[in-house]
């Protein structure tokens, strides 16, 4: 809006005014000088001329008397030459020209010019005008011895404007130097004062004619005068207000950057890996979780810029890769689960890719990937399935026995009474086993909910241990396991939950019996030291590998060892035992060697 030409337009206008002003002033000055010099010249000239006229009259009179007028013609011609006269003449008393610079006029009667008459003593003059010329005819009588012998005439051009101008021009350089200097200084001062003002003025004019103020772009000026500095300060203030500046705008900007930061922060705080890829499949954003999941081999560098499919390490013909590359699926959400091994650890990742659809565009401009490490979930699922498997087995086995015996009893005739009793006993035993398992299940369930609580009362520990042993003994006898039991001579009384403590100890001893091969050994050693009860359960069973040792107390955990697998079990026994002992304020620890045996030690404080 404010171009270079416009920038200069206003100064030019000002300069024109300025020059006009200067011209008028200088013209006025010049005219005054001419008028003054004309007046002064006329006065000087007149005085000088009158004096010359006097002398010339005297000379003419003498020449007239001496030579009888023969030299008069030469004389007037000399006068005319000396004074640059228009003409010079001598007139006889009779009124004829005796001599005249215009020779033809000699002898002719004098012509009387018309005009204004002026008189200085004996000298008089007629001021007359012919055309543009103004001249005066001076006349002085030639007197000798009291009589007039003639009249001397001199026609002289009056001092006019032109000669005054010439005189002025002679002195002009000196006369105009002063005002000229003022004009120059004025110009400099003017440019310093006016130019910034003009630049500001131009912008204000634009603002005055702009349709809306929004169209007006006020800008700073490059001058350093106080007014320019003030203007610039104002403009900068307004720019701050409007650009970054208005409260609304500033607030919006702050919010936007806050939002962007917040979004990044939120994405980086997600536990799931998140990546954004462009239409070419290159990663443009990856959050920290994803870097952590995928970039365990740090040599591969940052994810940004890499192709997502490459970094997922999908084998060329894997179904997951085929799905991700299938153009038909580019418009849809694709979910795939992949497994890989990273540093010897099997990992399962769940990948979800969804297209980013810009409004009005059919083809996706890129994808959002979310990557979740579901290893733990899958492991938990596997454990739960294992548990379900074992649980159904644990439930079905006693149920199968009960049904088989009951049906046999009801449908077969002629069974000896002894046999009948035996069958009923078996049914009873199996029912007990079933209810114990269900108790375990419920205990673990309430333990999971944190609702497992103890009902403490004084317990006769000796009786408790006898009961525990009696429950496990038949199983050991069946496997011909030699059982060594060392109990203290006298048990102190102990406030405890009898049922739960029994369950825990039965689980420990039952496990020892279950996982010890036929003919093995199981030991139970109970000691009381420093008001603390120590229970050691030792076996010569299959043992637990070092890998699995930390997990034996996890619920539903069952060893992968085939020797363990062939035994039925819920994976709840040890979990429950540990929790019960923990609730009693004690702890349960395990030492084991694969193929040699295991030793579980429970420590419970007596108070």
């Amino acid at each position: 809006m404010l171009g270079r030409s416009a920038h200069w337009e206003v100064p030019r206008r000002v300069v024109v005014y300025y020059l006009l002003f200067c011209t008028i002033v200088l013209g006025w000055l010049l005219a005054s000088a001419v008028i003054v010099s004309q007046a002064s010249m006329r006065h000087n000239h007149e005085a000088a001329f009158l004096s010359y006229l006097g002398r010339a009259a005297a000379e003419t009179t003498i020449s007239y008397l001496e030579t009888e007028g023969t030299d008069l013609q030469k004389l007037v011609e000399r006068f005319a030459r000396e004074q640059s006269l228009l003409y010079c003449a001598v007139v006889s008393p009779e009124g004829n020209y005796v001599a005249h610079t215009v020779r033809q006029r000699v002898g002719k009667p004098k012509t009387e010019p018309t005009g204004q008459h002026l008189r200085w003593g004996t000298v008089d003059a007629v001021r007359c005008r012919t055309g543009t010329n103004v001249f005066r005819e001076y006349r002085t009588p030639l007197e000798a011895g009291g009589r007039t012998v003639g009249t001397l005439l001199m026609g002289v051009r009056e001092v006019g404007w032109w000669s005054a101008l010439r005189l002025t021009a002679e002195h002009a350089p000196l006369a105009l130097a002063g005002p000229g200097l003022f004009v120059l200084v004025g110009a400099v001062v003017l440019s310093r004062v006016v130019r910034p003002m003009a630049a500001i003025d131009a912008q204000l004019r634009d603002a005055a004619i702009a349709p809306t103020l929004a169209d007006t772009r006020l800008q700073t000026v490059k001058y350093r005068t106080p007014s320019a500095l003030g203007w610039n300060r104002l403009i900068r203030h307004f720019e701050e207000e409007s650009q970054g500046g208005s409260l609304d705008h500033r607030l919006n900007q702050a919010l936007q950057s806050l939002r962007r930061d917040k979004v990044d922060e939120v994405l980086n705080s997600l536990a799931d890996g998140v990546a954004v890829t462009d239409a070419e499949g290159r990663v443009t954003f990856a959050n920290q979780a994803l870097e952590a999941i995928l970039a365990s081999d740090a040599a591969a560098g940052s994810l940004v810029g890499a192709a997502m499919e490459d970094r997922l390490g999908l084998p060329a013909q894997s179904p997951a890769l085929r799905q991700f590359l299938d153009p038909a699926l580019h418009q849809r959400l694709v979910v795939q689960e992949i497994s890989w091994e990273r540093e010897g650890v099997q990992q399962t990742l769940r990948l979800a890719r969804s297209p980013i659809r810009s409004t009005g565009q059919n083809h996706p401009g890129g994808f959002v990937w979310s990557v979740r490490d579901v290893t733990q979930q899958r492991l938990a699922e596997k454990m739960r399935n294992q548990f379900l498997d074992s649980a159904t087995h644990e439930l079905r086995t006693p149920l199968a026995n009960i049904r088989a015996y009951a049906e046999t009893l009801s449908l077969s005739d002629l069974i000896e009474v002894e046999r009948q009793k035996e069958f009923c006993n078996t049914i009873n035993m199996e029912a007990t086993r079933l209810s114990r398992f269900i108790d375990d299940l419920l205990s673990v369930s309430s333990m999971e909910m944190g609702a497992l609580s103890l009902t403490r009362q004084d317990v006769d520990l000796e009786r408790l241990f006898r009961e525990v042993v009696s429950k496990v003994k038949p199983q050991m006898d069946q496997k011909r396991i030699s059982f060594h039991c060392v109990l203290p001579e006298k048990f102190p009384a102990m406030p405890a939950d009898k049922d739960k403590l029994t369950v825990a100890l039965v689980n420990l001893l039952g496990n020892a019996a279950k996982y010890t091969p036929d003919g093995g050994r199981v030991g139970l050693k109970v000691k009381v030291i420093d008001r603390r009860l120590f229970v050691d359960v030792e076996d010569t069973g299959v043992g637990i590998s070092e890998d699995e040792l930390p997990r034996v107390f996890d619920k539903f955990f069952r060893s992968a060892d085939p020797q363990v697998r062939e035994q039925t079990g819920s994976g709840l026994g040890l979990t429950l035992a540990q929790e019960v002992i923990r609730l009693h304020g004690g702890e349960l620890i395990v030492e084991s060697q694969l193929g040699v045996g295991s030793k579980f030690t429970a420590m419970v404080p007596l108070d």
Partner: protein
């Protein structure tokens, strides 16, 4: 009761169940041998001939499936009809068991002993 005598092998680690099945089968007139594991059952199969085998699926040392595989790999025993008893219901694919292991009938615990005996009788009657 005595018209279809046959040698039957029960492979079952659950002693109580094996015992009641033996009781019922013997009452039906069969001669019954009980093995406590797949390995024991395999040893029995190698030493004697049986007309039918009742086997549990989950057993120590050698499971029911493994036992059947061995059974089918041996010419003398590949034709013996097998009835399987199992505590798993969800994972059992009877079609697969029939095709791969020649197991004709699968009973899921808890089963009715009477139905098992009827199945044994029917199977043996068909062979004769």
């Amino acid at each position: 009761m005595n018209e279809a005598p046959g040698n039957i092998l029960i492979a079952e680690d659950n002693a109580a169940l094996a015992s009641v099945m033996r009781f019922n089968l013997e009452r039906a007139g069969f001669r019954v041998t009980v093995a406590r594991s797949g390995r024991e059952a395999w040893e029995q199969v190698c030493s004697r001939s049986f007309d039918l085998i009742l086997t549990d699926e989950q057993m120590p040392e050698m499971g029911g499936r493994e036992f059947c595989k061995q059974l089918r790999s041996r010419t003398e025993s590949c034709q013996i009809p097998v009835i399987m008893l199992t505590a798993k219901a969800l994972e059992i694919d009877t079609e697969q068991l029939r095709e791969e292991l020649g197991i004709e009938t699968v009973f899921v615990k808890p089963f009715s002993p009477r139905e098992v005996i009827r199945a044994v009788q029917n199977r043996l009657a068909a062979t004769c």
